[in-house]
């Protein structure tokens, strides 16, 4: 059902865990539906310097969360925003049709985290950390 790549990310998730004082958080999904992703980012020089995730959900949800953290890390925010659900699917070596929504969720989580960062920065509520 799942590709070896996805299974690898599920078993050995990269960048997993909570982040203290993130610059942005993306929270997507709903526990009622069975998938929730939290994506935390730290920004430096307009690039994603660090990224972490926490996921409640199936193997596809966990695997896609993990893979998107790898994909996003080091990218500028604009580059990161260009990551599509298709990129995620390709990066995990494909997903069963019924699990496609997990790739959407992962892309959405990243976008939400970046938006959160930009919003905070813009509003000045949380001063962006530069060094």
């Amino acid at each position: 059902m799942y590709s070896d790549k996805l299974i690898d990310h599920f078993r050995n998730p990269r960048n997993m865990g909570r982040m203290e004082n993130p610059d942005g958080i993306g929270k997507v999904g709903n526990p009622v539906c069975g998938d929730v992703m939290y994506l935390y980012i730290k920004i430096k020089d307009n690039k994603i310097d660090d990224i972490k995730f926490e996921t409640f959900g199936c193997a596809a949800a966990i695997g896609t969360s993990s893979v998107i953290t790898e994909m996003a890390k080091g990218k500028t925010l604009d580059e990161a925003l260009k990551i599509t659900k298709k990129d995620v699917v390709d990066a995990v070596g494909g997903l069963p049709p019924i699990k496609m929504h997990c790739s959407v969720l992962a892309a959405d989580a990243l976008r939400a985290a970046i938006e959160d960062y930009r919003k905070k920065k813009g509003s000045g509520n949380d001063k962006p950390k530069d060094s």
Binding site: F10, K27, G34, Y38, A60, A61, I98
Partner: protein, 401 residues
């Protein structure tokens, strides 16, 4: 790696003795039981012996046993068959909200065809209320269908009592006994049932064969019309090898079931106790009047499909009612019916024990399970409560204003 199959409610391996009994009927005694010559009559004879064995196991007469392709077909035949044959008498059917889809979906289809169906609620252990059922009976009720035991949470329903009421009121009574036949005693007389569903592959027989017990005199329309096999109730060349295997499985069950059930109850209870030591877990279904082989535990903050896969990596094969594992992405209707919140249904884990399982298997599962749960909880954002999520969400939103 150790391999521990604990999904016997999904399907069972074919018992080697069953396989042995089936073997001659593929390439040697392959005659069509409808054919006249001696060679084909051997197949016919073997089939009739199998029918006797099924009948013996459920205390019916063999002429009341109709072979089908499995539990799902038997359920469909019982429900649609009685509905179509008795529609002049009435259009109302009573069933429960925790039946297998093989009962619920035929009922839903009949609703589209103009029938009316009452889906009885159950209590938080999965029991149907006999009083409530009695209240729902109408003058035009033609069929009651309540499962003998639930496949997800193991609840054994009060079938005898319901049967008594159905009998008094002159209403046909069907029970889906897929999870009980061959596991606990089933007696169509004591249970007062008119129709009873059995599936071969849930009792160490092969997949693709089942039976419907149809009490003599029951008015029922066939689902599959054709050459008039199975007393005109189910046409199609009979799956002889499958039927012979099914018969053998019934014979073995009749002999070994009691002892096996006692053994499984011990394993089951040990597994339940051990699993419940993991914090934020609970048992789904009752402690008493529960299938001897069913364990269903809920774990908070994690999701069942990933649990299943994690266990798979350790060679443990189990099941879940999580929506993520289903074709429909809907959470288990059974867990929902016993009152679980949607986010709780996702974390359910079902182990169903069987012949192959030993004390060592239970030890192994109890060794692996806590680590697996712990690892997934580490990945999960909900460390303390699902509520945290809703709170966070609410905070975020208020923030925006």
């Amino acid at each position: 790696m150790r391999r521990v199959y604990m999904d016997h409610a999904a399907t069972t391996p074919v018992d080697p003795r069953v396989m042995e009994a089936m073997k001659p009927f593929f390439s040697e005694k392959y005659g069509n039981p409808s054919s006249l010559y001696s060679f084909a009559q051997e197949a016919k004879k073997a089939m009739e012996e199998a029918r006797e064995k099924i009948a013996d196991l459920i205390n019916s007469s063999s002429s009341e046993v109709i072979f089908t392709s499995g539990g799902t077909e038997s359920d469909n035949l019982a429900i649609k068959g009685v509905a179509f044959a008795n529609k002049k008498k009435g259009k109302h059917i009573i069933t429960s909200s925790i039946e297998h889809h093989a009962v619920l979906h035929p009922c839903e289809w009949l609703e589209k065809m103009g029938f009316e169906v009452t889906y009885l609620p159950v209590d938080n252990k999965g029991f149907v209320s006999v009083d409530k059922l009695e209240e729902e009976i109408r003058n035009d009720t033609i069929l009651i269908s309540i499962m003998h035991a639930n496949n997800e949470i193991g609840t054994i329903e009060p079938i005898e009592e319901i049967g008594k009421i159905a009998k008094e009121r002159g209403i046909y009574f069907h029970t889906d006994a897929v999870q009980t036949v061959g596991k606990i005693p089933v007696d169509v007389e004591k249970m007062n049932v008119d129709l009873l569903t059995i599936s071969g592959h849930k009792m160490y027989g092969p997949k693709g064969v089942g039976a419907l017990y149809v009490r003599k005199g029951t008015k029922i329309t066939p689902l599959i019309h054709g050459g008039g096999h199975e007393r005109n109730l189910r046409s199609g060349t009979e799956n002889v090898s499958g039927i012979v295997g099914f018969g053998k499985a019934a014979e073995l069950a009749a002999r070994e079931m009691d002892k096996e059930a006692k053994r499984l109850v011990k394993l089951r209870d040990r597994l339940i106790e051990g699993a419940l030591k993991i914090e934020n877990s609970w048992l789904n279904g009752p402690r008493k009047r529960r299938l001897p082989n069913n364990v269903n535990i809920g774990f908070k903050f994690i999701e069942g499909e990933s649990l299943i896969l994690e266990l798979d990596f350790s060679g443990i094969y189990a099941n879940t009612g999580s929506a993520c594992s289903s074709k429909s992405l809907k959470p288990s209707h059974v867990l929902t019916a016993i009152g679980l919140r949607p986010e709780e249904t996702h974390g359910s884990l079902r182990f169903t024990l069987g012949k192959q399982n030993s004390d060592e298997d239970v030890d192994y599962v109890l060794e692996v399970l806590p680590n697996v749960v712990e690892r997934l909880r580490r990945i999960s954002p909900f460390k303390k409560d699902f509520g945290e999520y809703e709170e966070a969400l609410a905070k975020e939103q208020s923030h925006k204003h």
